[in-house]
């Protein structure tokens, strides 16, 4: 009897887990959605879409509000774009420049940035972009170059000529606004909405810490959610479901810590094997 109860418990848990994990299968869900002709181009942007975001788009469409304002990205030099001219002004701020060890991570984040948020030049119409996320560059020339080169060649330029001084200016402005900035590797996504709040003290900000992001897919998820955050601003108080937030936190922690822990175990095992078999010295000598 107890055994049957145990198996029933397992079955119930798996069913509940499946129901809760259903939003993971967002790609299939995306293909089932049929928007009218001339519908939103949002669905072509992200690879993963939360059902919450989809329902938000549906709700907007049903009540006749077209989500026509899209978040765009641009590479900008020092002082090139005054934040006050934008409805929302975001920035991707790294607290330090890349080193040899983290070049791959910086480029991975850059690829996710390019892959998720369209460039300002891609938007049709003469109206200036209202929602902007800026990747700061060292000089105006670097910014022009990063904006001009092909997408495949953008990231090496964008990463090697990253505008650290500008990034630190944005981080200082965020601190002035009352945002606590962790002492971590970043990057931090920071946005002022509306843009004229930039530089003011004690104003609400949009903020995301991407320090724990180690995969491109996770970075794309963050950028896609970032798009949603900015589009919903200034109504930023809309809560993200707590369970989804907890799941994302655990996932990021497992991905980051897993890489460190498993790497350390593998290295230790390799070292121990080298000592046991007496090949450790040879490897070192080589």
């Amino acid at each position: 009897m107890r055994s049957i109860l145990s198996w029933l418990l397992v079955a119930a848990f798996i069913v509940l887990a499946g129901l809760y994990a259903a939003p993971l299968y967002r790609v299939e869900l995306k293909s089932e959605i049929r928007f009218p002709e001339g519908g939103s181009s949002f669905l072509s942007l992200p690879r993963l879409i939360d059902t919450d975001d989809l329902s938000m788009l549906y709700a907007r469409r049903e009540i006749g509000i077209e989500p026509v304002l899209i978040v765009t990205r641009v590479f900008a030099g020092p002082g090139e774009l005054p934040p006050s001219q934008f409805q929302a002004f975001g920035v991707i701020a790294f607290p330090s420049r890349m080193t040899e060890e983290d070049t791959e991570r910086y480029e991975m984040l850059c690829r996710a940035f390019l892959g998720t948020i369209p460039h300002t030049s891609e938007t049709s119409g003469a109206a200036p972009p209202a929602f902007l996320t800026v990747w700061p560059m060292e000089t105006l020339g670097d910014a022009a170059r990063a904006n001009r080169v092909s997408r495949a060649a953008t990231c090496p330029v964008a990463v090697s000529r990253y505008g650290l001084a500008e990034a630190q200016r944005f981080i200082s402005a965020a601190r002035r606004a009352g945002q606590s900035i962790p002492s971590d590797r970043g990057p931090f996504l920071i946005a002022w909405s509306p843009g004229h709040l930039f530089g003011e003290s004690d104003v609400p900000l949009l903020f995301r810490d991407m320090s724990s992001i180690v995969t491109e897919q996770a970075a794309e998820d963050v950028f896609f959610k970032w798009i949603g955050d900015i589009q919903r601003s200034p109504d930023v108080s809309e809560p993200v479901p707590r369970l989804l937030r907890i799941r994302a936190r655990i996932r990021e922690w497992a991905d980051r810590t897993g890489a460190i822990a498993v790497g350390a175990i593998v290295e230790t095992a390799r070292l121990a094997w080298g000592i046991i078999t007496g090949k450790g010295d040879e490897t070192d000598d080589a």
């Binding site: 107890r2 055994s3 145990s6 418990l9 397992v10 848990f13 798996i14 887990a17 809760y20 994990a21 993971l24 180690v214 995969t215 897919q217 996770a218 799941r247 655990i250 996932r251 497992a254 991905d255 810590t257 897993g258 890489a259 822990a261 498993v262 790497g263």
Partner: protein, 53 residues
């Protein structure tokens, strides 16, 4: 519940929990899988009665 049943149950629960979180990397799966296996084993330990089996 016997020790064997408890371990099987802990394994299934650990797998379900890890799949629920769905880490993006293989290392994430390994770490979370092992940790949740340990946690569920500890949780189920008080229900183990060897004489049941």
């Amino acid at each position: 519940m016997t020790l064997r049943a408890a371990l099987i149950l802990a394994g299934l629960l650990a797998f379900a929990f890890t799949a629920l979180i769905w880490p993006y990397t293989r290392e994430g799966w390994i770490l979370l899988g092992l940790l949740s296996l340990g946690a569920f084993s500890v949780i189920l330990l008080p229900f183990v009665r060897e004489d049941d089996g």
